[in-house]
């Protein structure tokens, strides 16, 4: 079994593909840091009382927003101002300087830029790792070896997961490095605020970052499971990559329909709405009564079904 994993791993790295993926991720991580600085200075220009006076600045801002609420006829404008006041108050209460940046804050705020690409690359790899061997005809030469077919699937699946982990480590490391170079070192216990559907949450990097990474990884795992299984069931890498990416974007679209659909009893039992696990960083329940535990259970059931069907099919099929 270890031999198979060893083989898959060495096959992977002998291709150009993973190097390209890693290269793109490094470029994106570096680019993120520069973009972040650009926006940071832009924002900083607006609020000149940087540094010691940030609390004063926020209070001044709030006064302006209060004036807007009093004067404006536009309901949307008033609502926006009200939200900003609440956010600023939360920042003041927590003692969090919104303009203070260090490597920990940068990493915490921008990690999801890189991970979006990790999911995409993991889906591509998961869809192609079995079907490309079928297309190239090497699968038959695997099947005539003294192993059970499911063992090849396990080895390939673990390879995808390991590669996703390598990508995640790369992005985290490069972003942390860039953060250190451009914003200086800071403590992981730096307080930060997270904005979610349920309002503003005050926390620290050390507390929220592991949650983000953990939930992201589980979420990505589910995308990998689906595209991996589909590529096996449909024997086509194009279809699998397509469906994987469709689900990637489809979950966002579906969430737009959530208010319409969430009253149906079956809605919580469909896997798609659960595939934004990261939102549990800031929300306890994505619809009333549906929390993280429920989401994980639903996803686990679907994952078992997908992988079970794919493995059963793979075990039995005739290779022509």
């Amino acid at each position: 079994m270890f031999a198979l994993l060893h083989n898959e791993w060495s096959k992977l790295w002998n291709k150009k593909q993973p190097w390209i993926f890693i290269g793109i991720l490094i470029v994106i991580s570096i680019g993120t840091a520069f973009l972040y600085t650009a926006f940071d200075t832009l924002e900083g220009a607006g609020t000149e009382g940087d540094g010691e006076n940030w609390e004063v600045t926020l209070e001044l801002e709030n006064e302006q927003y209060a004036q807007t609420i009093a004067e404006s006829d536009d309901e949307w404008e008033r609502e926006f101002a009200q939200d900003r006041i609440e956010e600023n108050e939360a920042l003041l209460a927590a003692g969090v300087d919104p303009n203070e940046t260090n490597n920990a804050v940068f990493l915490n705020e921008m990690i999801y830029v890189g991970t979006a690409f990790i999911t995409l690359f993991a889906v591509i790899l998961a869809s192609t790792i079995v079907s490309s061997e079928q297309d190239k005809g090497t699968l038959k030469h695997l099947f005539v070896r003294p192993y059970e077919r499911w063992q090849f699937l396990v080895a390939k699946f673990i390879t995808v997961i390991l590669f996703a982990a390598v990508m995640l480590v790369t992005v985290t490391a490069v972003q942390y490095l860039m953060g250190t170079i451009m914003f200086g070192t800071g403590s992981f216990s730096t307080p930060v605020v997270e904005y979610g559907m349920g309002g503003v949450i005050t926390t620290t990097v050390a507390e929220v970052f592991p949650q983000k990474i953990g939930l992201y990884f589980l979420n990505m795992l589910m995308f990998v499971v689906i595209s991996f299984s589909i590529s096996i069931l449909f024997k086509s890498q194009t279809l699998a990559v397509g469906i994987g990416i469709f689900i990637l974007f489809g979950t966002n679209i579906l969430q737009g329909f959530a208010p319409l659909l969430q009253d149906y009893f079956w809605y919580p039992y469909v896997f798609l709405p659960h595939m934004t696990l990261q939102s549990y960083v800031v929300t306890d329940e994505f619809i009333p009564g549906v929390g993280l535990g429920f989401s994980l259970a639903v996803l686990a059931v679907y994952a078992v079904l997908f992988l079970g069907a794919a493995t059963a099919f793979f075990q039995k099929r005739d290779l022509v």
């Binding site: 031999a3 198979l4 060893h6 083989n7 060495s10 096959k11 002998n14 291709k15 150009k16 190239k136 005809g137 090497t138 038959k140 030469h141 695997l142 099947f143 005539v144 070896r145 003294p146 192993y147 059970e148 039995k316 005739d318 290779l319 022509v320």
Partner: protein, 316 residues
């Protein structure tokens, strides 16, 4: 346990619509034997091979490799097999050496560095083994295919259409390897639709048509000249003497004229031991003989008889 490396009994494959593409196939293979599966395209050769190596499930029948049942001990059976199914395929983005390392690792630690270099030199790929496989010619890939198939010292080698895409030199080399391996006691099952190749390569052939065995021939008797063998003899004589030759030959008993198409050629069916006698008769009759050639009763003729001529057109 018998001395057979492979026993196939009642092997059947039914596909959608109840069509039997392999129908009750049975044959045995002795240790160290090179056995050919011969038949026109669509006869079920590839399906048979895929069922034996476990790429396809069988509908019925049993396969025993080295005394082990394929259904019960599939992994143990496959450990004894080296296979090339159709064209050998590789990870082309890796070197030949790295490919062999991969396959070797799957043999459970029995393949050492020394074994890899031994096999590489056997297939004469020493100069190219560090190059990526995508740079290899078809003949080199075929040789690398042989290398990966014999790497783990299997007792049974299974090659499906191994001569596909090979030039005559490559075919000849492959044939030589197989003969060397057979001398080491490795048995080979090889499928092909190329009659002449099978005749040169194999000890015995199983002739298949429409999923069934129609004949199992021992080629050693076809290839070697036994003195008592019936052979086809062609005589070429001086132009215009064909009729005279035919008359002269008619005095010989147990010699029949098979054909007499041109005026200077005659084809006879007769015992090989009668050729000197034939020669004397012709000379005595004053006929100018340019050549007497004994043609072996070739596999092709047998194949054509068995498959009633029709199959040959498909095969070529």
């Amino acid at each position: 346990m018998s001395g057979n490396i492979l026993e196939v009994s009642g092997l059947t494959k039914t596909v959608g619509g109840g069509k039997k593409i392999v129908d009750g196939l049975s044959f045995d293979m002795k240790k160290g034997e090179i056995l050919g599966l011969l038949g026109p395209n669509g006869a079920g050769k590839t399906t048979t091979i895929r069922m034996i190596v476990g790429l396809m499930s069988k509908t019925d029948g049993s396969v025993t490799i080295n005394g082990r049942d394929l259904d019960e001990q599939g992994k143990a059976c496959r450990a004894n097999i080296g296979a090339i199914v159709e064209n050998p395929t590789f990870y082309e983005y890796m070197s030949g050496y790295k490919n062999l390392k991969l396959w070797g690792r799957m043999a459970g630690g029995s393949v050492t560095e020394e074994r890899i270099s031994e096999v590489v030199s056997l297939v004469k790929l020493e100069d190219a083994i560090k190059d990526k496989v995508k740079k290899y010619s078809l003949g080199m890939k075929q040789r690398l295919g042989v290398a990966q198939a014999i790497l783990h010292r299997p007792s049974l080698l299974i090659l499906d259409e191994p001569t596909n895409g090979l030039d005559p030199k490559g075919i000849r080399e492959l044939r030589d390897y197989l003969r060397e391996l057979a001398d080491e006691g490795i048995s080979t099952l090889v499928s092909s639709h190329l009659l002449s190749e099978m005749q040169l390569m194999c000890d015995r052939v199983v002739i298949m048509e429409k999923g069934k065995v129609i004949d199992i021939s021992d080629l050693s008797s076809l290839n070697a000249y036994g003195d008592k063998d019936q052979v086809a003899v062609s005589i070429s004589v001086k132009k215009g003497q064909g009729e005279a030759a035919k008359t002269a030959v008619s005095v010989l008993e147990e010699v029949t004229v098979a054909s007499h198409e041109t005026e200077n050629e005659l084809l006879l069916d007769m015992g090989r031991d009668r050729i000197p006698e034939l020669n004397r008769v012709l000379v005595k009759a004053g006929i100018d003989v340019f050549g007497i050639e004994s043609k072996r009763t070739s596999l092709e003729e047998k194949f054509l008889q068995l498959t009633s001529g029709k199959a040959d057109k498909e095969a070529n």
